[in-house]
Symmetry: C2
Subunit: 643 residues, 2 copies
């Protein structure tokens, strides 16, 4: 029964990933088909990434944009539908695309909710996870030296020159505090008399603006800038959000960290390009900064796209993402929005329109080419009180001032991404991954919603609290971008971070900075993140390189780039997919991970088939769940394993 439940949970995720043109690994798919007695067939239905810009090519060129399809785009019940023309709306004849069904989603969700609460499933997952931990420890004791030997014999590649991607970073905080400070001082030297700010119609020069704030940039320090998170922000997300205001002044945030202002976001674009150029200098570091779309107005997209194109905000070491803050309640209370549906419309309809008719939205279409995914962000610890179900008001009927629940947000973002991705794939355009913040705080239902809808997540701390979900995230190898330094300032002390535990068990974790402006001290925030993790968690070189490899697999880099950074066969799972010359991850490690993963999947397959009752009879080949390839080493050494 337990195995059947886990089997069905994996099938659910597989279905939702395929539907949304996101990723589900091959190995569990093969096991699922085997369980069903079917033949597994490889499919090419994965996400589509924009290939890297070639030498001489202009990242902002508009010559190759596709033709206008002339389709009509309209939202219904919070999901955008595509019609051949306006008349088809009346006939209710949308184009043939997979429009997700709320009923099915709720059904699947309820099944999973029941599953993660079931006693026997919890016990099973808990035991398997514990076993995975111990097994890794045994692996380490036996093979650590062998792994190190492999790495030492691997010429020219070490941790410093293997690729790492900062898989979770916010553009508005992607520079460190010292960088921002220096930039403010520099801008004052150059632009003191330039009009840079519009204070309710009154034009202010940079000098006047600082005078009004009673500040002189020369005197400014990182202390007075006060953007760094400290002890005051622990468990206080609200205080943390205020840290985005340099010197506590929203004027400076508007001027330096926003894309829309009297100088059209020029300073912000310059800072980001400086960060990009630092990454290019470091060569082996990449980042995936998030820019905000709030859904307050439909103009946000063209404005953001215009900023992006105008300032040519491009770096080969950056891939872009869109983050949507879950702040409908703020907008509604100020009457900026009539209902939640309007917010979704503002977020998605412009993207659909640019997808249908790129010629009429050239800047936006170029911008979308550089976007690799959507993120959903805000304080997860705020409880909404709303329980998502089929009876929940439709987005257009959600007129209350209350904020919808996390799951409600996630579902509607997911549903629109499904339609959008299928439409874009049809058109040969790049598709988007859904990569929400999830499990940083709040209820474990967040992690359940992401299990169904997200290609990968950021944070995932709360997987600590649900063994079943943790085990499912392991089985489905859902990537988790973790940021222990960020957690340390906000939600969880560094030494208590579950990252080393997850890594040992074989969950697919990567390291990311979240907000270098608030959390980091040095010039290389991502290296700082790795260095501290290595020191405090005592990670070996192989561990660090594995985490770096995970970050490349997780991220939105194109197929071509991944093949270059990880090796041609990176899409293969298991040791064939690892090119040690590129990744500096020992083959022994990758083989161990793969064997362990298959072993767990196989247990489920056997459990469903009822062939073996796991943990009872030991035939010495691993059927008992206690003897495993690396334990058999122990036996060779004279120890007998008695199940």
């Amino acid at each position: 029964v337990v195995c059947k439940g886990l089997y069905r949970a994996l099938c659910i995720r597989e279905k939702y990933m395929q539907q949304s043109v996101q990723r589900f690994p091959r190995t569990p798919s093969q096991y699922l088909r085997a369980i069903e007695g079917e033949v597994w067939r490889a499919s090419d239905a994965g996400p589509v990434f924009t290939p890297p810009v070639k030498d001489g090519q202009d990242p902002f060129e508009t010559g190759s944009l596709a033709e206008n399809l002339g389709y009509h785009v309209q939202m219904k019940d919070g999901v955008v539908y595509i019609y051949g023309d306006k008349a088809a709306v009346g006939r209710n004849e949308p184009k043939d695309l997979p429009y997700p069904s709320l009923e099915h989603f709720v059904d699947d969700m309820n099944f999973l909710l029941a599953l993660i609460a079931q006693g026997p499933v919890k016990t099973y997952a808990h035991r398997r996870l514990k076993f995975l931990s111990s097994k890794f420890q045994v692996h380490e004791m036996l093979n650590e030296m062998e792994e190190m030997k492999e790495l030492k014999n691997n010429p020219h590649r070490d941790f410093y020159n293997c690729r790492k991607v900062d898989t979770h970073i916010h553009a508005a905080a992607c520079m460190n505090q010292k960088h921002l400070l220096r930039f403010i001082k520099k801008s004052y030297c150059m632009d003191a008399d330039r009009v840079v700010y519009d204070a309710k119609g009154k034009q202010l020069t940079l000098k006047q603006l600082f005078q009004q704030l009673n500040l002189h940039p020369y005197d400014l320090t990182v202390d007075s800038l006060d953007v760094h998170a400290g002890r005051q922000t622990f468990q206080r997300f609200d205080k943390f959000n205020d840290k985005y205001n340099p010197v506590g002044a929203s004027e400076l945030r508007d001027l330096y960290l926003k894309t829309e202002n009297a100088i059209n976001g020029e300073y912000f674009a310059t800072i980001i390009k400086e960060v990009g150029s630092d990454l290019e200098d470091a060569k082996y570091q990449h980042a995936e900064p998030r820019l905000s779309i709030y859904g307050r107005s439909a103009e946000e997209w063209p404005k953001l796209a215009s900023w992006f194109n105008k300032h040519r905000v491009y770096s080969p070491n950056m891939k872009w993402m869109i983050q949507v803050p879950r702040i409908y309640d703020v907008f509604r209370s100020k009457n900026f929005l009539p209902h939640f549906g309007k917010m979704l419309e503002n977020i998605f309809v412009p993207v659909f329109e640019a997808t249908v008719n790129p010629q009429a939205h050239k800047e936006l279409s170029v911008f979308l080419r550089h976007i690799t995914g959507f993120d959903s962000v805000d304080d997860e610890s705020k409880h909404s009180g709303h329980m998502f179900c089929t009876k929940s008001p439709k987005p257009e009927q959600w007129t209350s001032e209350k904020n919808p629940s996390y799951t409600y947000y996630i579902y509607y973002m997911y549903a629109n991404i499904v339609v959008l991705n299928n439409l874009r794939r049809q058109r040969g355009m790049n598709t988007f991954l859904f990569r929400p913040h999830c499990g940083e705080a709040g209820a474990i239902t967040h992690l359940l919603a992401a299990f169904m809808t997200a290609d990968n997540i950021s944070h995932g701390l709360n997987l600590k609290k649900s063994p079943v979900l943790q085990y499912l995230y392991f089985l489905a190898q859902i990537p988790i971008a973790m940021s222990p330094l960020s957690n340390n300032s906000l939600f969880l002390e560094y030494a208590k971070n579950p990252l080393p535990d997850f890594h040992q068990k074989g969950l697919m974790v990567s390291l990311s900075t979240d907000d270098p402006m608030q959390f980091h001290y040095t010039k290389e925030p991502l290296m700082e993140e790795y260095a501290i993790a290595a020191q405090v968690f005592k990670l070996s070189t192989c561990d660090m390189c594995e985490i770096a490899r995970n970050s490349v697999l997780q991220c939105g880099l194109s197929h071509e780039e991944k093949a270059k950074f990880l090796g041609e066969n990176y899409q293969e799972e298991g040791p064939q997919g690892n090119d040690i010359r590129k990744t500096n991850v020992a083959q022994i490690r990758v083989a161990y991970r793969y064997e362990t993963w298959c072993y767990e999947l196989n247990l489920i397959a056997e459990g469903v088939a009822g062939e073996t009752a796991p943990g009872i009879v030991c035939s010495g080949n691993g059927g008992c769940g206690f003897c495993c390839p690396c334990l058999s080493e122990l036996q060779k050494g004279g120890m007998r394993s008695e199940p």
Copy 2:
């Protein structure tokens, strides 16, 4: 009785510091005089540092060297004596200098040994330390925001541009692993066909050397270099020492990290100068690298001085120290030395001779001008089994293969430094501080020996184990250069490091790297050290700036430099000595530290005088030991303190 014991212990330290031209703070001196009913008089008897090199001045100039005194220098019972001429030796008429007395030293040591073991003293010290902890926590709760406000209002100065000194770093590991790797590759590009190595008479070019090692520098990685400490080195100082050999090959250590080799230490000098130039670029960072004198032969000093002068190893951001490894047993077992006295002779006699007759030892005299202190190094966890007492064999009689105890080493180094410093002060030359490694591991007697003899120490971890010594280190404000990342790889997990605890209690701690080659990942090891401490221990900006200020106070920078970096009055104790514009340490913090320190000293004074029985009667002015300046804030807020 307890207070009398502590009083006497402080008097002992004061005496030994004055005798050796080292530092003892004014405030406890004033209390000690008050207890004795005497009038305190300021003395100028502090250490003498070489002033900084002026613009246009050559750091290696020999024009200003002093004349030959013609004195005769000879060691007796392990201590160098100065005679007017050779004939005076026979007459046993040494020059009038303070030659330390072993009997007095042993007496004082025995007194302190008894003191730290006394029950009531232990209880008293333990309680006072606990009180200091809690008091700091109250201070923080009440004044954290005020401190932050002071720092925010302090123009232009923040943690990044206040001075920090790496107070404990070994020259042979002062570059990080990536730097060394890059240097090796670069040297191969430039010098492949140069003869760089002498393999028992066979001259090898760089190319031949690498061929012999079966290596090609292009393939070399930080993994194959294998100089980084990992999980394997924890509690294994022996394995750690092997990490000094790149690729496990002592040939490469000889070539790249030694001052004596076929290329006269050219590569080593170049690497160190590169590190120096990085410090100069960073501007606010300084370092005090240690070079080794082993005492195996009297030629070590002139050779090392020649290396220093020849390669002009100078950086304004570096001050030099000499480290003496405690490895007599190794030399004796190979019959390099007849007895321990010979080792001391090799270490000290050349320095005395250069002091008496600089003209005849020009290079060494210049070198000594740049030296600021002596360090004693090696694995403290090795137990010697020898108990130092008056009956211990004299160094000349120590012919056994056994290594003398830590205290034995320390005493004889101290004794020679006493004579040397007094002689050098007479001659207007710079003097040396004694700054041994102490309390990294091993017995707490090490910390007791250092309490008597050392200006300041490195590590001090084991102060955790002795409340009395910890309290004495607090009362005497003995600086402690701590290296939590080094400890994390060798002796103590990061999160368990006592640094934050010591800092809270008000011990004078600084942060240092020890061995960037083995422990650090980033380009700025000292910043990495501060960043990790800030993150894991949740230090505030004020904490970090206080630690940085401590590092400048502790180090061997000259009076002129300290005045420039900390403010003119840096020698004053308490708030007058703090110039927030330079140090970025809040005055509230410095005032708190000073009040707290005086309060504890006053308790001892009162205890000795028997005027007040501490902790019994409360007159509201602090006499009870429980109400204090910051607690009185609480009372204003309506709370009554009931002792």
